[in-house]
Amino acid sequence: MSESPPLSVEGITVRFAGIVALDNVSFEVEPGSIHAVIGPNGAGKSTCFNVLTGVYRASAGTVRLGDVRLTGLRPHQITRLGLGRTFQNIALSPRQSVLENLMLARHLLTRAGFVSTGLRLPNATREARRHRARVCEIAEFVGIAPLLDVPAGLLSYGDQKRVELSRALCLEPKVLLLDEPVAGLNAEESRTMAQEILDVRAGLGISVLIVEHNMGLVMGIADRITVLDFGRCISHGSPAEVQRDPAVIRAYLGTGRGEDAAAAAQLGAPHGEAAQ
C-alpha cells in the first residue's frame, strides 16, 4: 500500500463576475489523514472542491499533489493524477446500472477504444473482465454488491450516496474528496457512511478530504479541520482546537440560518457522537 502524497492548497482565489467566492485559501491534506473543510452555507466549500478537481479555474493560487501542480489542468487530467471525488448532488447516470456506473470510474485505468470495443477484440474483452472483477471487489467492500444490476436512478438516496462513494473508490484515487457524504441521510445511514469512510482510510490508506455540514460526523472522524467563512479561511486545527475557536462559533451563529445554528450547537457537542 503506497503512501499517498500530500495535497496542498496555496492561496486559492476564485472570482465570479465580481464576486469573490474564495479568497486566498490555503491548507494541506496530510498523507493518510481525514481532513474536513467546514463552514456556514455559502462559505465556498463546494467552490473549493470544484477548484481542486478542475471544474472551476482559480483566478490565483496553486494546488499541488505531491510535487505535481494541478491548477490549470482539465478535470480528467486531475483525476488521472489521483484525485477522486463524489458530488453533493449525486451525479450518477440514473439509467445505467450500478455496475456500469462503477465501471465508468475505471475509464482512466483501461484503454479499450472504439475500435477494439466495437470489434470485441480479445484484449478489450479481457481488460473488461479484469476490471469488472476489481469493481465487484470494491462494491463488496462498500457493501453494495447486491445492487450491481439495478439502474442507479432506482436506488434509495442513501444507496445512491454509497454508490457515489464506491465509484470514487473505483478511480483508485490517492486522495478521496467527499462532497457532503451524509447530507440528506438519516442518523442510521450517516453512521454507516462514517464507518465506511473510516474503513476506506484504514483499508486503503488514502487521504480523505471532506466537505460536510454535519458537525457530528466531522468532529467524529476528521484529523484536521479547515473552517471557511465568506470564502476566507478563518480557522485551522484539530477538531478540539477548532471547536474552541471563538471565530468559528461566531461565524456559525452569525448566519442566522437554522441549520448553521444547529451546527454551532453541535460544535459544543462531545466528540464522535455521529461516529459511534
Partner: protein, 379 residues
C-alpha cells in the same frame, strides 16, 4: 432468471428476423427489395446519429451533410471522368469500388473530425443549430462544385464490386434456387450484411468503455470529466463515428440510387433521421433500426397500397394523400413518443434499462441541481 429468458427470447427474435430477411429476395419483387435497401441504408445512418444524439446527447442536424459526403465521395472516387450534360464534365478517380467505399466512409469521418472543434466547444442547443449550417453549406457545395458532384444533375455512382463480383444485373449472371439475382437482390444482401455488422459494432461500443463514457457525458459532462473522461475528445469521437456511419449509409444510398442528386441531401433528410431515432427510441441501437424501418417504409408502403386505403385521397383528388398522411403520422409520433413513451418503439418492444434515451418524464433521480456561472468553459 426471467432476465435471462428475456435475453434468449429477444435473441431468438433477432435470429428469426435475420433468417426472414435473408430469404426475402427469393420471394418479393423489386419494390420491396428497393425499399429494403433504403431501410438498410437508413438504419445504418440512424444508428450513427443515435450514437451522437441519443447516446452522447449532442443534437446534430448535420446528418444529411455527412451522408452526402459518403455518397458523393464514393461516386467521385470510384467514378470516371464523364460529360454529364449541360457542358459539365465530372472528374473521377477510378478507384476500385471497395476502396472507394472505404475511403468515402473515412472522408465522412474526417468531415466529422473537422467539425469537432465546434462540436466540442458548443453545448446543447447551440450545437444543434450550428450543425444546421453544415447542411446548407453542403447543399451549396454540392450544387457549385460541379466537376466533382455534377451539380444539380448529380453524377453516376459506379456499381459496387467485391473481389470481381459485381453488384449489377449481370456479370456474372447469377441464379439462386430458380430466382435470378439482379442488382437489387445482390445489393439487398450487401445492405443486410453491412447493417448486421454496423449493428453489432454499435452494440458492442455502447456496452463497453466508450459507450459508458458517452452515456455519462449525456447525463452530466462534469461527472464524466471528473470520472476521467476527456469530454472534448469523446464528443469529437462520437461525431467522427457517427459521421462514418452516415458516410456508409451515403455509400449505400448512392448504390441504391445509382445516381445521387443534391436535392436529396437537404434539411428534410436530417430531420427525417432525427425522427427515426426519436420514434425508435433515443439511445437504443435496436430502436434506431426500428425507427429507420418505420420512417423509411411508411410513405412508400402507404403509396404502394394507396388504392386499397380508402381514407386516403387518390392521386389527383384533393384531400390528404399518402405522402401527407405519412408525414402526419411520423410528425405526430415524434410528439407522442417524447410526451408519453420516451423509450420509443424499441421501448414498447421490450428493450429497457440502459437503452432508454435522453428524455425522462419521471422526476429527475439526481435530485435538485444547483447552477453556477462559469467564467471559462472548464472542460
Amino acid at each position: 432468471m426471467s432476465e435471462l429468458l428475456r435475453r434468449h427470447a429477444s435473441r431468438a427474435v433477432i435470429i428469426a428476423l435475420v433468417v426472414v430477411l435473408a430469404a426475402l429476395p427469393l420471394y418479393v419483387g423489386a419494390f420491396w427489395l428497393q425499399l429494403g435497401l433504403f431501410v438498410f441504408a437508413a438504419a445504418i445512418g440512424a444508428i450513427g446519429l443515435n450514437l451522437v444524439t441519443g447516446t452522447a446527447g449532442q443534437l446534430s442536424l448535420a446528418h444529411a451533410f455527412f451522408l452526402a459526403i459518403g455518397a458523393y465521395g464514393y461516386a467521385y472516387l470510384s467514378g470516371t471522368a464523364t460529360s454529364i450534360g449541360g457542358g459539365v464534365v465530372v472528374d473521377g478517380r477510378e478507384l476500385p469500388p471497395l476502396l472507394a467505399a472505404a475511403l468515402a466512409v473515412a472522408l465522412a469521418g474526417l468531415a466529422g473530425l473537422l467539425f469537432s472543434p465546434i462540436a466540442g466547444r458548443l453545448r446543447g442547443i447551440y450545437l444543434g443549430v450550428a450543425s444546421l449550417s453544415l447542411v446548407f453549406i453542403g447543399q451549396h457545395v454540392l450544387l457549385n462544385a460541379k466537376d466533382i458532384t455534377g451539380g444539380f444533375y448529380g453524377r453516376n455512382a459506379a456499381p459496387f464490386q467485391l473481389f470481381g463480383f459485381t453488384f449489377t444485373d449481370e456479370d456474372p449472371d447469377l441464379t439462386v434456387l430458380g430466382v435470378r439475382f439482379g442488382q437489387r437482390e445482390r445489393l439487398w444482401y450487401l445492405g443486410l450484411v453491412l447493417l448486421i455488422l454496423c449493428y453489432l459494432f454499435a452494440t458492442n461500443v455502447l456496452r463497453g468503455r466508450p459507450g459508458r463514457a458517452l452515456q455519462t457525458i449525456r447525463d452530466s459532462e462534469i461527472a464524466a470529466a471528473t470520472m476521467g473522461v476527456n469530454v472534448r475528445a469523446y464528443k469529437a469521437w462520437a461525431f467522427v463515428l457517427s459521421s462514418m456511419y452516415a458516410g456508409l449509409a451515403g455509400v449505400l444510398v448512392a448504390l441504391a440510387f445509382q445516381r445521387p442528386v443534391p436535392d436529396y441531401f437537404n434539411l428534410t433528410l436530417s430531420i427525417t433521421y432525427l425522427a427515426m431515432i426519436v420514434i425508435g427510441g433515443l439511445g437504443s441501437v435496436r430502436g434506431a433500426v426500428i425507427g429507420a424501418a418505420f420512417v423509411t417504409a411508411l410513405p412508400l408502403v402507404l403509396t404502394h397500397y394507396s388504392d386499397h386505403l380508402t381514407f386516403l385521397a387518390q392521386p389527383g383528388e384533393s384531400g390528404v394523400g399518402a405522402a401527407d398522411f405519412a408525414k402526419y403520422v411520423y410528425g405526430g409520433l415524434v410528439i407522442v413518443v417524447i410526451l408519453v413513451a420516451p423509450g420509443g418503439l424499441a421501448g414498447l418492444f421490450g428493450a429497457r434499462g440502459r437503452q432508454t434515451g435522453v428524455t425522462t418524464d419521471q422526476p429527475d433521480p439526481t435530485g435538485p441541481s444547483s447552477s453556477v456561472m462559469v467564467k471559462e468553459d472548464p472542460l
